[in-house]
């Protein structure tokens, strides 16, 4: 019947469109964060690594919480995030092999030009947050359990302020990545805590500008670790470790240092300097 004439081409079409499951290529999967991705670092870093080793790196960029969960499920070979307590817990619980420092940058507080809380130019993050709370100025939080979010929460705690009480009023939890939160902050004229790298490369600054920086507590450390191949036999341990080694080795560290946006260095390599 006409069936043959339609069914067969349909099946062939499906087969032809059927996508190759990337069998032949050599690659590893790295779970990392949106802030690192948005900065553009990977666009420089990964091709350099691939040129050296022939290994393709596939980065899944999600919030820190989700990245760690992915790694805990064995869905990534390497974890590369920026929240040391969570990373150390990850290794302690047997999911990771060994944690290494890779690089650091810092967080900054951005806010609207008119600065209702009067914090511009401050080098004291905790004091700035207290002023913001006192002025009930709008503050946009990641609210997504990410490294940035956890840093923000620790600062509020140090400031002695319970922001959950104000959630939905002047304290707005977007539950999204850094870029989306900055978009929201730009739209609301709100203050926000962001890592410097994302801020520098962010293209929708609108009315926002950098208001607080330089506080030691705004230090942001990035760490990398291989997911445990004993726990997950399918992990590409050799290639994954190659990536870790390259990142903390001379080559990777130099590539990180050389990465500039708008004339500014976004990340500062510090592997092996402070010890894990």
């Amino acid at each position: 019947m006409l069936m043959r004439r339609t069914l067969l081409p349909l099946i062939l079409l499906t087969a032809a469109l059927a996508l190759p499951v990337s069998a032949a290529e050599r690659f590893i999967t790295v779970a990392s964060t949106t802030s690192t991705e948005n900065s553009g670092l990977f666009d420089t870093l990964l091709p350099a690594f691939q040129a050296k080793t022939g290994i393709e790196v596939r980065v899944v960029a999600v919030g820190t919480g989700q990245a760690i969960k992915l790694a805990q499920n064995g869905d990534a070979d390497v974890l590369f995030v920026h929240h040391k307590p969570s990373e150390e817990k990850f290794v302690a619980e047997g999911y990771g092999v060994k944690r290494f420092d890779v690089m650091y940058n810092d967080f900054v507080i951005v806010g609207p030009k008119m600065d209702p809380a009067g914090v511009r130019g401050s080098h004291d993050a905790v004091d700035a947050l207290q002023k913001i709370a006192a002025a009930k100025a709008i503050f946009a939080s990641r609210g997504d359990d990410s490294g940035t979010h956890k840093k923000e929460q620790s600062l509020w705690k140090t400031a002695g302020i319970d922001v959950t009480a104000a959630s939905g009023q002047w304290y707005r939890e977007t539950g999204s990545g850094m870029g989306a939160t900055l978009n929201a902050a730009a739209g609301m004229g709100a203050y926000a805590l962001t890592d410097r790298a994302t801020w520098i490369s962010f293209k929708n600054k609108a009315d926002l500008e950098l208001v607080v920086e330089g506080d030691k507590r705004l230090f942001n450390q990035y760490g990398v670790m291989l997911v445990n191949p004993v726990k997950f036999p399918h992990i590409k341990a050799k290639d994954g470790q190659a990536f870790v080694d390259w990142l903390i080795g001379t080559d990777g560290q130099k590539t990180i240092a050389d990465f500039h946006v708008d004339g500014q260095q976004l990340f500062f390599p510090n592997a092996g300097k402070m010890g894990s």
């Binding site: 469109l17 499951v21 999967t29 899944v60 960029a61 064995g74 869905d75 978009n183 929708n204």
Partner: protein
Amino acid sequence: MTDLNAAFALALDMILRLDADLLEIVGLSLRVSFSAVALAALIGLPMGAAVALFRFPGRLVLNALLNAFMGLPPVVVGLIVYLLLSRAGPLGVFGLLFTPTAMVIAQCLLITPIIAALSAQTVTDLHEEYDEQLRSLAAGPWQRLLTLLWDGRFRLLTAILAGFGRAVAEVGAVMIVGGNINHATRVMTTAIALETSKGYLALALGLGIILISLALGVNLAAMVIRDVARVRYG
């Protein structure tokens, strides 16, 4: 408004110089969604027709489920597929997570209910018209099913188009199961989400304009095919 102007300019620029990244992303979007639609049609058309024609235990429940799942949120489907395909999940051994195949699977799950529900509706209508004649010709149950599907092909094409539209426009499912990996699983919608999160709104909008134009183009092409064929075959 300046963003809108910038968006159009960017979109035009990318198209005219055949930007390599753009072509890659568009190509993957089309491949993923076309594959998903083809698969969903293969499954959904006979499924919907069977629900319309045959009596079997659980038929009413299946019909209700199909109609309910037409409105499944893509992000929920993505989450479910992630849990299935994750290494920690039942199908993890296949290593399909973060591949285009996973994206095809997720989108297929998303649009099969639409195609099945519309197929059931079409077949029900045709069934009334044809049932006596087909039984008189001694067509068996599966032969009747295929005949009705083929006869309703123009209306079913509309259903398939609806499925394609939903697939190519969704971002929730492919983001979770694909991971938006550069040069591997980045499609138009996830690229738009990424550029938005970078604050690069003009580029995001530009990509959006291209996406809409694509969907429009596919729809127009299918409508022309349908109208020409209808004139030829009545």
